[in-house]
Amino acid sequence: MKILVCISHVPDTTSKINFTDDNTKFDTNGVQFVINPNDEFGLTRAMWFKEKQGATVDIVNVGGPETEPTLRKALAIGADTAIRIDTEALDGFQVAKELSAVAKEGNYDLIIAGRESIDYNGGMVPGMLANLIDASFVNTCISLEVEGDTATATREIDGGKETVSAKLPLVIGGQKGLVEESDLRIPNMRGIMMARKKPLTVKEPSGASVETAAVSFEKPAPKGEVKLIDPENLDQLIDLLHNEAKAI
């Protein structure tokens, strides 16, 4: 089985979010970048397929050279080879289109992406990619097994879950549940040393067009002070929730 894991390079979950250039660019100053958490659950599941079912695992990212440490980390976790498509993508469509070229060329059985990146939260790349390459698609995937040419996947739905069966090739939009948090791997020294020697191929972009443009950003208005309520005066809370917030 040939697996491709799509890796997004995103600010760490605890990063302070600021913007520069008149609020048109994300301020990367002092920001630590990591593998997108939704992708990391998928990557870890891919390691399981590698170890238990002899799968090969390639990883791919659409981004500039600054994303390479993130790719090296994914290699240190155990991916076999890495591909970086050398362009600063401007929207999800462009990312999906660039990925589709790599996906077609590599003839993958299974392509694992995260349900969304935690920076732009577009949530569109996995589905667009699946449609572009005519593969089956399961979104918000929380468990995945493959036997022969058939995958059994569970997806999270509002208020529950649904188990489906799909023929390969398959693209999933994955998330926590594919593996548990405790299964995530911290690269060890041997992994890090080996990762240095693993191939990381830089590819020219195909020049995909852009459908949407992030014009500018703004931060939410600062929140007013919390209203503290005396624990001995719970009627006040109920009154505020009913009359002021109109929430109950």
Binding site: D91, G159, V164, A247
Partner: protein, 322 residues
């Protein structure tokens, strides 16, 4: 030219988000001087969509589409959009809508903006405001394509009535086997329980509750308020509560009217996931807990003392106000 909207239903009954997306589509249609066409699947009472501004309902009645199927639903919406020459398609932010929207975007060569929180700021260029960085910022996005797909964030626009006579016409999309390449084996869905996605109110517990045996009072509060229960990440990681209850950056997003956090300190990842909620209440023993900076109302106190007394008061309130 109409604005097309995907209205979700379950077992024939429209979801509240269906009325919200129709309300929103009405707003866009008024900006553009056009009409709203809703697409419904095996739904009852399609005329109810008129209350929120639908001029026409294209009703797909097809037993094969009794259960949601992203490919088939996307194909139906694509064909409906083409028939109507729709320039804007509005969908919700439900799990199903987010599943089909990217498929639809490719089929229609449409640009797609998800998590949109308001009517377009301008029609040309078509610019919308959406959340980004997991609710830590807003992003103004221009959709440049001829056909545009807008994914509306839950609870961001609300329901707006505008009486229209929604005329219903049957719509039979052309579907073949390739649209049914994903076969649903089983569905596991809690019955009679409010889901986090649909809930107006969410009651959420954290590590401060000390153990799974203490969740009775959380569930009681949820019962009283008709709320969904949720939990913080450590609580689901420790197995006190199911993963499906985990809300936060890597868990489920919450955009309820009221979010009550009990014994949750408010790590940045947790707050990011629940920030879209309108009113936030925190109950925590530690006055320094970061949640107090994010909340509207706070009680510094011990959950084991406060919550049972609050439940009694809420019961009384509900008895007098319903």
């Amino acid at each position: 030219m109409s604005v097309l909207v995907y209205t979700e239903s379950e077992e024939g009954k429209f979801k509240k988000t269906a009325y919200e997306v129709v309300s929103y589509a009405r707003g866009i249609a008024d900006m553009m001087g056009t009409t709203v066409t809703a697409v419904a699947f095996n739904a009852d009472e399609t005329a109810s969509l008129g209350t929120y501004g639908a001029d026409k309902v294209m009703h797909v009645k097809n037993d094969k589409l009794g259960k949601f199927n992203a490919n088939a639903y996307a194909a139906a919406l694509t064909q409906a959009a083409k028939q109507e020459s729709a320039k804007v398609i509005v969908v919700s932010s439900s799990a199903n809508a987010k599943y089909l929207a990217p498929l639809l975007a490719i089929d229609l060569e449409a640009g797609y903006a998800s998590n949109v929180v308001a009517l377009p700021e301008s029609e040309s260029p078509f610019k919308v405001k959406r959340t980004a960085f997991t609710n830590k910022a807003f992003n103004h996005t221009e959709i440049k394509t001829d056909v545009k797909i807008v994914g509306l964030s839950k609870n961001s626009f609300g329901l707006k009535e505008s009486q229209k006579e929604a005329s219903e016409e049957g719509f039979e999309p052309g579907l073949d086997d390739k649209h049914f390449n994903i076969e649903v084996k089983s569905v596991d869905k809690a019955k009679d329980k409010v889901t986090i996605a649909d809930a107006e109110i969410v009651v959420s517990g954290g590590r401060g509750l000390k153990g799974p045996e203490n969740w009775g009072m959380i569930e009681e509060m949820a019962d009283i308020l008709g709320a969904a229960t949720a939990c913080s990440k450590p609580v689901s990681d420790m197995g006190w509560r199911p993963h499906s209850e985990h809300v936060g950056q890597t868990g489920k997003p919450v955009a309820s009217n009221l979010y009550i956090a009990i014994g949750i300190s408010g790590a940045i990842q947790h707050l990011a996931g629940i920030n879209a909620s309108k009113t936030k209440v925190v109950i925590n023993t530690d006055p320094e807990a970061p949640f107090f900076k994010a909340a509207d109302y706070g009680i510094v106190g011990d959950a084991f003392d406060v919550v049972p007394r609050l439940n009694e008061k809420l019961k009384e309130f509900k008895a007098n106000n319903s």
